[in-house]
Amino acid sequence: MDTFLALTVTGLVTGCLYALTASGLVVTYTTSGIFNFAHGAIGMLAAFSYWELTASQGMPGLPALLLTVLVISPLVGAVIERLLVRRLGTASLEVTLTVTVGLLLLLIGIANTIWDPATPHRVQAFFLGDEVTVAGVVLTAHQLVIVATATAVAISLWAFLHWSRTGVALRAVVDDRELAALTGASPTRVGQLGWALGAGLAGLAGVLLASQVSLDATTMTLLVVNGYAAAVLGRLTNLPLTFVGGLLLGLCQAWAVGYLTLDFISQIQPVIPMLFLFVALVLSPQARLRVAQTAPLRAPSVPGARRTLLATGSFLVVAALAAVAMPLSRMGDATHGMAVALILLSLVPLVGYGGMVSLSQLTFAGIGAVALAKVGGGPEGLLAAIAVPAAVGLLVALPTMRLRGLHLALATLAFGYAMDDAFFSNATVMTDSLGLPVPRPLGLDDPRGYFFLVCGAFAVCAFGVLALRRSTLGRRLVALGDSPAGCSTLGMRVRRTKLGVFAMSAGMAGLGGALLGGQQGAVGSADFGLLLSLTLLLLAVVWGVRTVSGVLIAALLLEAAPLLQDHISGVGSVVPLLVGLGAIGLGKHQNGIVGSVVAATRRRRAVPNLPQPRTEPPIREEVLTSAQS
């Protein structure tokens, strides 16, 4: 019984932190319509600011806390809203997602530049050493502070939203943005307030968490991902439900840690929040078919069969020349880059054509590498490297294909994050701490030959992707991204189409991962982390996830960046900074850089002059069934 009580109390404390951070996420999402992947990064920045004020500048805890939570964090939120969010308008999901992911990387980059990750930063708990015993359970004063703060926040947030005019306006903007403007309340200002409030809540959670964990920019940022589950339980819009979700999640986690001590189950303990997120998403009610939704236009550029053949041929010639002429010292990087390009290529049919954002492509790549390692380097190993991820992809897709947009993206994120903890960090899978040895497929130990093999695989897949776009399946995918309602009423079996492309894309990523593993000789959990996965998606979207050339350039640049960094001394993290800035520029060029260039060259051609009026205003999302509630 004592154990139970103790676990429950710990769970509630953790749950309070989840509830705090998730409610901030919900506030920003509802007021601006943008899911802020950088929410955790804002909390992380607040934690470091608090460290700077207290440990470094010697300020007492309370004023430092107030300054961080009430001034610095809201200011960061408001500035982000002003500079980034406001410009996004009605951008597509992959663009809004990429911009906030870019922001996340940028903030991590800034933190690592200011606060050297090599030196430890420690934050003291509030009222260190003080303890209270409640019903036989020992509580630290810090834990009490967490519970008290969360309760106070919940109550004052509710009061603010229901009793103050600004709070009512905030809910009104969520309900009907345009009507709110017509009454004289400013939706832009409310949106900015929402971001400031959300950032404040993120900051509060960050500071309260800071003393409980080691202060590391990446770890702290990703801790917040657990809070997504609570937000999803609140359907991303309902604050009271979000709070309940946070507490429930904390309790589940604590009880699981306490009671599930079997060897196998103990290994999945860290995954519990992600399982929670996945289940919450799969069970969440989805709007039925959306009608009257104007999807942003995708780049129409589809090279014909002859051009594709020509481009593939020239690419192979260049690859062959490079294989012969490139110095051996650069061979490894080049091969690595081409394998990454293949992984990015798997995003083109899924995200680029179909508009389905997957955040777990790197996970499939990892599964491919593991499959190759386990089956061996022969042709059957390569086959397994494609078939196993494809099968896993199908399994993941089956329950999630009902989901659309952000929900699908979050479900793949839950899967990827869970695999990160439970699979790639698992000793029985990865055999030893240095990683799992991966053989070179087909016994191609010669680096030049292996480079050409990877280029060949990319060429074949790229040719296949372009052929797919010209095929009926490609048209189905694009149509699905444009108008699901149109597809259904023409008799398209939507689920089957989505499942097929998801499995195919997972298989392609698996092959890329296997080839990557073969190049490295071994793979470890660090190779398939969530942050890297997000970075890759971001790079692809920035350069143009709708075109093959876009992802190729993205991969090669990623490979070239460390070289660049060698030449610029003094700046600790060029890559995240550059990548973050790139993403931020995306607000203007939403088809990616390659897409914009293609569009610019096309614009010169004659455009049809069609003078008739079109009457519908561009309504972004009008959920037909929402009228029922």
């Binding site: 236009l297 108008s483 519908e616 029922q628």
Partner: protein, 242 residues
């Protein structure tokens, strides 16, 4: 042939549709008119399975399809166009129609190739000149014609058209009327929702008038025109402000 029986839907506290029954026989154009907000588009959504009714049933060619999915209904021969456009904006005009033809052909592999069929249909609705343009840049009128061609590509036995004439000028609207009549003559059951009363009166054999989610009256164009209730529904009651 389409038969709708006793359909009822509620949104919150409001009856969107109540006890609506209508028949749309093959070989003729049936009109469905009524003021904005009368429930016409809601009825279309229920017939195509995008929304579920709270009561009543939908029959296609004498088969109960009330529980079928949207996809199943389309495969059974039901096609529609949308008042708020649902063209595939990123595809070209030809690809829009071609895709529909391919989806239909997936069932039975015979007859002309989807591209040929697409070109024929585009010629029929008069969009040949813009076949290679991206569909998203078409003006409303043309986009509606494209939705019509796309719907025809799945060879429907029953065709639901939601305001196909809005955005067309007088000459184009006249051509549309001729096209719909010839479709009906080929054996298709056409159900037409349209605000251009002139067009409705010209081509419909039978007209239903919906008001407040209920059928107000039905009959031939002449009968409907003479009905006082219809005039009130359409023009508003006489002397409200006095």
């Amino acid at each position: 042939m389409l038969r709708v029986e006793d359909i009822g839907v509620r949104f919150g506290g409001v009856h969107a549709l109540k006890g609506v029954s209508l028949t749309c026989p093959a070989g003729q154009v049936t009109g469905l008119i009524g003021p904005n907000g009368a429930g016409k588009t809601t009825l279309f959504n229920i017939v195509t399975g995008i929304q579920r009714p709270d009561a009543g049933s939908v029959h296609l060619d004498d088969r109960d399809i009330t529980r079928d999915s949207t996809e199943q209904r389309a495969r059974a021969g039901l096609a529609r166009t949308f008042q708020r456009l649902e063209v595939f904006g990123s595809l070209t005009v030809r690809e829009n129609v071609q895709l529909a033809a391919e989806l239909h052909r997936g069932l039975r592999r015979r007859g002309r190739s989807p591209v040929e069929l697409a070109d024929d249909l585009l010629a029929r609705v008069g969009l040949t000149a813009v076949a290679d343009h991206q569909a998203g840049v078409l003006p409303t009128g043309s986009a509606r014609l494209l939705e019509l061609a796309r719907a025809l590509a799945i060879s429907p036995t029953t065709l639901l058209l939601d305001e196909p004439g809005s955005g067309l000028d007088e000459a184009e609207s006249h051509q549309l009327g001729d096209l719909l009549r010839s479709l009906a003559a080929e054996g298709t059951a056409v159900l037409l929702v349209e605000h251009d009363v002139q067009l409705v009166m010209r081509i419909c054999a039978h007209i239903y008038v919906l008001d407040f989610g209920q059928l107000l009256c039905e009959g031939s164009p002449a009968e409907v025109q003479a009905d006082v209730g219809v005039q009130q529904a359409y023009l508003g009651a006489e002397s409200v402000a006095s």
